[in-house]
């Protein structure tokens, strides 16, 4: 095959793989690396003056204004980032690939119709979806915390008739969902479906698929044995890049107050006002530098990995 050899012949791919592995190991070993979790406040240094403390033995990378450790946020945030990135990417990868393949295999009118519907999802900006699902969440939460006069989930009616305890368990998993994750899962599978559809359509008339069909191989087996393995390379590359991109996008949304917060976004947000100080930008470097670098590296690592996979799987594009 030579895929592995081609992959490891570029230093960029080594770098990408190294960064990604470093993040994965950090996430796995988080309890060992940082016994404090991201929310623990350093009570000893808690004071009225909320000033970020410089690196000290208790907090190797200093503390944020609210006296939580930057190091802990960095380490534990890796877990959240990987969980989110890999989880959401897996969902959109599976959904998109399946829909794209199915449409291509049905062919003809059904293919056009299915892909046309798919394309419609492309006109919807993700940020509007995050706002919308956040809104649905909020109106439900609002009704629970305050007996407000505004519309939401009619929990007080349920409470009045004694149904509340039956409904809360049903409701809580919905409220635990991250609006960003829901939106990404609902809208970002489209590119996968498109790319998968295009490659399967192209492969449908390649000789070995025709040969398999003629020799009596059943439809499902043609898909699973011949079409998917050969068409999977481009979508696999997209998935590798998306793990990084989705986490970066989610952190951006959390930073501007949309969707669920993460340790990284929290740290960036609370350190924002301390980036500049009268003595120069570098005075409180620890409030923003470690997390920013981690976020950039997270994006770069998966991006390099994706680029490396393109080159390794498709030797002709290697020159580009």
């Amino acid at each position: 095959m030579g895929i592995t050899r081609r992959f490891f012949s570029h230093w960029q791919n080594w770098l990408g793989l190294f960064i990604v592995m470093a993040f994965i190991f950090t996430a796995l070993l988080a309890p060992l690396l940082s016994p404090l979790d991201a929310d623990t406040k350093d009570e000893a240094v808690l004071s009225f003056l909320k000033v970020p403390k410089p690196p000290a033995p208790g907090a190797p990378l200093g503390t944020l204004p609210d006296q939580t450790s930057v190091y802990a946020a960095l380490i534990w945030g890796t877990r959240d980032a990987l969980k989110f990135g890999i989880g959401v990417t897996t969902i959109i990868f599976l959904v998109g690939t399946l829909i794209g393949t199915l449409a291509a295999f049905l062919g003809g009118m059904s293919n056009s119709l299915l892909m046309w519907t798919t394309d419609m999802f492309l006109a919807f900006p993700v940020i509007a979806g995050v706002v919308f699902f956040n809104q649905l969440n909020n109106s439900m939460l609002f009704k629970i915390v305050s007996n407000s006069e505004f519309a939401g989930f009619p929990l007080d009616y349920l409470a009045k008739y004694g149904y509340l305890k039956d409904f809360l368990p049903l409701l809580s998993p919905f409220m635990k969902l991250n609006p960003a994750a829901v939106t990404f899962a609902l809208f970002l599978w489209v590119p996968y479906a498109r790319v998968m559809n295009a490659s399967v359509m192209r492969l449908r008339h390649v000789e070995y698929v025709l040969a398999a069909k003629i020799s009596g191989v059943k439809g499902f087996r043609v898909i699973s044995r011949h079409l998917i393995p050969n068409a999977i390379a481009p979508v696999l590359v997209m998935a590798a890049k998306d793990v990084g991109a989705l986490v970066v996008l989610q952190t951006t949304f959390a930073f501007i107050g949309l969707g669920k917060s993460t340790p990284w976004a929290d740290a960036l947000l609370s350190g924002r006002d301390w980036i500049y100080s009268p003595n120069g930008i570098v005075t409180y470097w620890w409030v923003f530098l470690p997390i920013t670098v981690a976020l950039i590296l997270f994006g770069i690592g998966w991006n390099l990995l994706g680029d490396g996979l393109i080159e390794a799987m498709n030797p002709r594009s290697g020159e580009n």
Binding site: D119, P125, Q135, K143, V248, Y276, N320
Partner: protein, 353 residues
């Protein structure tokens, strides 16, 4: 004429897409009880003295009046009728009619988008063609490295750097849309908003200082947006140019002794225009998302304000819905315009349709 037919087809497709997306959005609201949907029809002013009981009664009246327990299609079409009559509901957080609020803020977003496109479109094409036609040259390597950095630095991180350098340290640019000294000028009676773009309105009203100030505030968000989009456009252009360069007509041209510059700019770029524009069309929604993100980070009072404020305090379905629908419409308008541009630029499409 073929172009007109293409335009008509494009508009038809946009309308169907809009119907589909609004239907999906309304279907998501169907999960919630009818009271949430009743808030879409709430009258502008509910009396501040209204008690909880009276409010619930009003909600029940709304549910009755607009048949909010009816099956989905009935409800959807009646709501869509209200949408068409510019009746998008009243937002308790914005304290105004959602549609008016959106229309009032649209020029700000359009102005930002306009200047960002003005910067990144020519630069993206230029660097894409230059690096694509001279693969592995110094420029190509430099471009690839910069574009890689640009796509890895999210708007958020770029914005933080910009703020520290240009606002806090150098004091060249500022966040927001206008300085406090200039705010009253906009509200003044003799000021006439011809376009809604402060940079142009300032000049038309004979107040170049205002234009300059507006430009000073536009610079950071526009440049941040342009930097991210420039990298994306440049990479796509580069890839397409490289693909075109392997085709026979380029080789034939080279054999005939055409200059490399002519080959790249006239022939390769001309034929790359359609794929590049197609890609831009497909990613129009993510451009929209980037615009809103940049707006929010730089505190620029565009359309994103409606989305952000809808989450402020009170559950506010009308403005969240309005924000989603309005931004979808904007994406569809951009897509239609690009589709038309594609037909104008590419002779093959012009004739085949």
């Amino acid at each position: 004429m073929p172009i007109l037919r293409r335009l008509a087809f494009s508009i038809l497709r946009s309308v169907i897409t809009l119907i589909f997306i609004t239907a999906v959005l309304y279907a998501s609201l169907m999960i919630t009880p009818p009271e949430t949907r009743a808030s879409l029809y709430m009258p502008k002013k509910t009396s501040p003295r209204m008690t909880d009981e009276m409010y619930q009664k009003l909600l029940q009246q709304m549910v009755e009046k607009y048949k909010l327990n009816a099956p989905f299609p009935v409800q959807y079409f009646s709501w869509a009728g209200h949408l068409l009559r510019a009746n998008w509901g009243y937002s308790p957080n914005l304290q105004e009619d959602v549609f008016t609020g959106l229309m009032r803020r649209a020029p700000a977003t359009l102005e930002l988008t306009f200047y960002a496109i003005l910067v990144y479109f020519p630069l993206g094409l230029l660097s894409g063609v230059l690096s694509g036609s001279k693969k592995k040259s110094v420029f190509d390597r430099l471009f690839r490295a910069t574009a890689f950095v640009a796509t890895s630095l999210t708007p958020m991180i770029l914005a933080i750097i910009m703020m520290v350098v240009f606002y806090i340290t150098l004091r060249w640019f500022a966040p927001g849309r206008l300085g406090t000294a200039f705010e009253p000028m906009i509200g003044a009676e003799q000021f006439r908003a011809y376009t809604g773009f402060f940079t142009i309105d300032g000049l038309l009203n004979g107040n170049p200082q205002l234009s300059l100030d507006a430009l000073r505030h536009l610079a950071m968000p526009a440049l941040t947006l342009a930097f991210a989009q420039w990298a994306i456009l440049g990479r796509i252009t580069r890839a397409t140019i490289i693909e075109e360069n392997q085709k026979e007509y380029i080789i034939a041209g080279r054999a005939l002794g055409l200059r490399e510059r002519t080959l790249a700019w006239r022939y390769a770029l001309g034929n790359s225009a359609a794929p590049v524009l197609t890609h831009t069309m497909l990613t129009a929604a993510s451009l929209m998302t980037n615009i809103f993100v940049v707006e929010i980070i730089f505190n620029y009072p565009g359309l994103s304000t409606v989305g952000v404020k809808s989450l402020a305090f009170i559950p506010d379905a009308p403005s969240a819905m309005g924000f989603a629908i309005y931004s979808t419409i904007l994406v569809l308008v951009i897509t239609t315009m690009l589709d038309l541009l594609k037909a104008v630029v590419d002779p093959r499409l012009r004739e085949s349709f």
